[in-house]
Amino acid sequence: MAFESLGEKLQGIFKKLKGQGKISDKDLKAALREVRVALLEADVNYKVVKDFVNTINERALGQDVLESLTPGQQVIKIVNDELTQLMGGAQSKLEISPKPPTVIMMIGLQGSGKTTSTGKLGRFLKKQGRSPLLVACDIYRPAAIKQLQVLGEQLEIPVFSMGDKTSPVDIAKAALNHATYHGNDLVLLDTAGRLHIDEALMAELSAIKNEVKPTEILLVVDAMTGQDAVNVAEKFNELLNLTGVVLTKLDGDTRGGAALSVKAVTGKPIKFVGMGEKLDALEPFHPERMASRILGMGDVLTLIEKAQENFDSKQAQELQQKLLKAEFTLEDFLTQMQQMKNMGPLDQVMDMIPGMNKAKLKGLEFDEKEFVRFQAVIQSMTKDERRNPHKINGSRRKRIALGSGTKVQDVNRLLKQFEQAQKMMKQLSGMASGKGKKGKLKLPFM
């Protein structure tokens, strides 16, 4: 998961602060020095880091934080605020033109993920009931057009191309006509990757912009980019006046400092983040949620949204009832595992849960194959066994292992995990029924 290390580092730093009833000027300085190194290691641009650390220092000194009763908490709050600010404050949505078609232009360096992001964004918008058209303006990279066409086929979204002999400006222009004629209310232009210092190709982008007057010009940035991210973003912004940024490959283990830098330097918001290779792995970017994710406060809102998207609400309610009555069975465990699987890679889901200790989780391998095995084991049980797991004795275990093509150890492991899940459920249901503004937390966790 991206930001993991940065988050861990910051959490470590703040843990030290948190424990102290009093923070001296020196403590604060030392902590901020560590924050500086952590941010630099995360590839945040050094100028941005400097400003960031200075701002926090000033705010911490200015608000009598150090004299307050919970100075550590106060400092963390300030850092959280500033981090959110750094990443763009509130969420920034995609602009839709009142006069369709809305034209969205995707630009960036080679290999940043423009074509894939174009496909993903097309899917995202199609899901919202729009009728997008993908346009292949990359006439330079071999097979770039083919790549977009394959994506379009997979997503059942039309792709407009004129081969690689027509100029991208003409392609864009023709695509606009095509969209108007065919009732596409959104046109996504996939442009060729280019270096920000390649004047001829940069001029081509300007020409496309002038021709089709896009509503959105999104710069696609690889989250693994180093200090150069700032130069690249500045240059593209200078020439084209970006409207936003798509940050890709955030599912790697990059600490993702580019995310912080790009916004700070261009002032343009990050609108989407790419979280995986699958075509549904594109999410709207929420700065405040990402900030608390970095600080290890979890991202419950995204988790809830994901859950709402993937969970059958009736099932979830039933499950919740069962949870409250502590009637959670292996059958529920199975349904729940299946639903969890729909929510995306487990480690990403885990990252969103507040209080999930990274160090504690480290030993746990979230093996998707294990899911399949567990599924087989549960399906080899009788209904009675599923409802009353305590009945499963040694000979039953042997039978179940045989029936599911697994080993007795697998059955044992499943039962153990189920037991743990049951315990956790009880705790969580206690938490959920205790408080909550919007009713109860409708979340069955593992």
Partner: protein, 324 residues
């Protein structure tokens, strides 16, 4: 006429030498200008060390390496009683050369047998493009080259490699999109043996190194190569985007563990990225850059010469300054 023009001449002799110096000029921009600014007309003090550290960090050298380097400079200033910032620059160059080594790391290829080169890396670093360029380069050297289209995942990847194959004039062994890459590799090896190829270059799908199952797939590909052709896997090259920051270290580490990386192809050096991460990778994982990508054309792939690279990074500004 100074050191740099001599350097330029020596570069011209190498493959596409003109281009290397061109690209290095770009690479130098920013980085060298800043190093230069830091040094000019100053005395050595704490502020200078701090600024130097910042400049190195900004060149993607990485915090650890930057701090180490500056620490060494501090020591040497003490021991050698250096006073002027200008002297410090030479010392810095020396220290970086110490890390990078001064030999030119070549591809380890044997004559009269099949050499397999596996190219790995994260998504979008330029694996397929680099393979196209490498095929062209090796063929121009008179080698019989075959390409294996092991990226069966990304849409259009196979077509992309085929286009490069046509451009370079070499055969491409491929299956359909979605096929098992290990099967492609197997077939490619058989074809390479049957056609008496000197070199088989295998493309793989871009994968983020933290995806366990994808790294397992890579291990499987490597196992098949080991099994099918004892002793012929000569190089496992990690393609690395020069714009990548500190994550490159993580890539070098994990790909190194999974695939036994033998060297690095540093791509996209024609941008403004400073390539400083190369120093960190050499320092921490002893992996040398063997090839550099310096442009979009088929001939834009060159050998990496650490000596020249570092020298050119730091001496041009000095030289031009002396001249001007």
């Amino acid at each position: 006429m100074g050191f740099f023009s001599k350097l330029k001449d020596s570069l011209k002799g190498s493959f596409g030498g003109e281009k290397l110096s061109d690209s290095l000029t770009k690479t130098r921009k920013g980085f060298i200008d800043k190093v230069f600014d830091v040094f000019t007309g100053r005395i050595i003090d704490e502020e200078l060390f701090e600024e130097l550290e910042e400049v190195l960090i900004q060149g993607d050298v990485g915090v650890n390496t930057a701090v180490d380097l500056v620490e060494k400079l501090r020591e040497r200033v003490k021991v050698e009683k250096l006073k002027e910032a200008e002297q410090l620059r030479k010392v810095l160059v020396e220290e970086i050369i110490k890390i990078m080594g001064d030999e030119i790391p070549n591809l380890d290829l044997a004559k009269g047998e099949l050499n397999i080169i596996l190219v790995v890396g994260v998504n979008g670093v330029g694996k397929t493009t680099s393979i196209g360029k490498l095929a062209y380069k090796l063929k121009a050297e008179g080698k019989r080259v075959i390409l294996g289209a092991g990226d069966t995942f990304r849409a259009g990847a196979i077509d992309q490699l085929q286009v490069w194959g046509q451009r370079a004039g070499v055969d491409v062994i491929s299956h359909k999109e979605g096929a098992d890459p290990a099967a492609v590799v197997y077939d490619a090896i058989q074809a390479a043996i049957a056609r008496k190829a000197d070199i088989l270059i295998i493309d793989t799908a871009g994968r983020l190194h933290n995806k366990i199952n994808l790294m397992e797939e890579l291990k499987k590909i490597k196992r098949i190569i080991d099994k099918e052709s004892v002793g012929t896997l000569k190089e496992v090259l990690l393609a690395l985007d020069a714009t990548t920051g500190q994550n490159a270290l993580s890539q070098a580490k994990i790909f190194g563990q999974a695939a036994g990386v033998t060297g690095v192809i540093l791509t996209k050096l024609d941008g403004t990225a400073k390539g400083g991460v190369v120093i960190g990778i050499k320092a921490e994982y002893n992996l040398s850059v063997k090839l550099i990508g310096v442009g979009e054309k088929i001939e834009d792939l060159q050998e990496f010469k650490p000596q020249d690279f570092v020298a050119a990074l730091f001496t041009e500004a000095e030289d031009e300054n002396n001249e001007g």
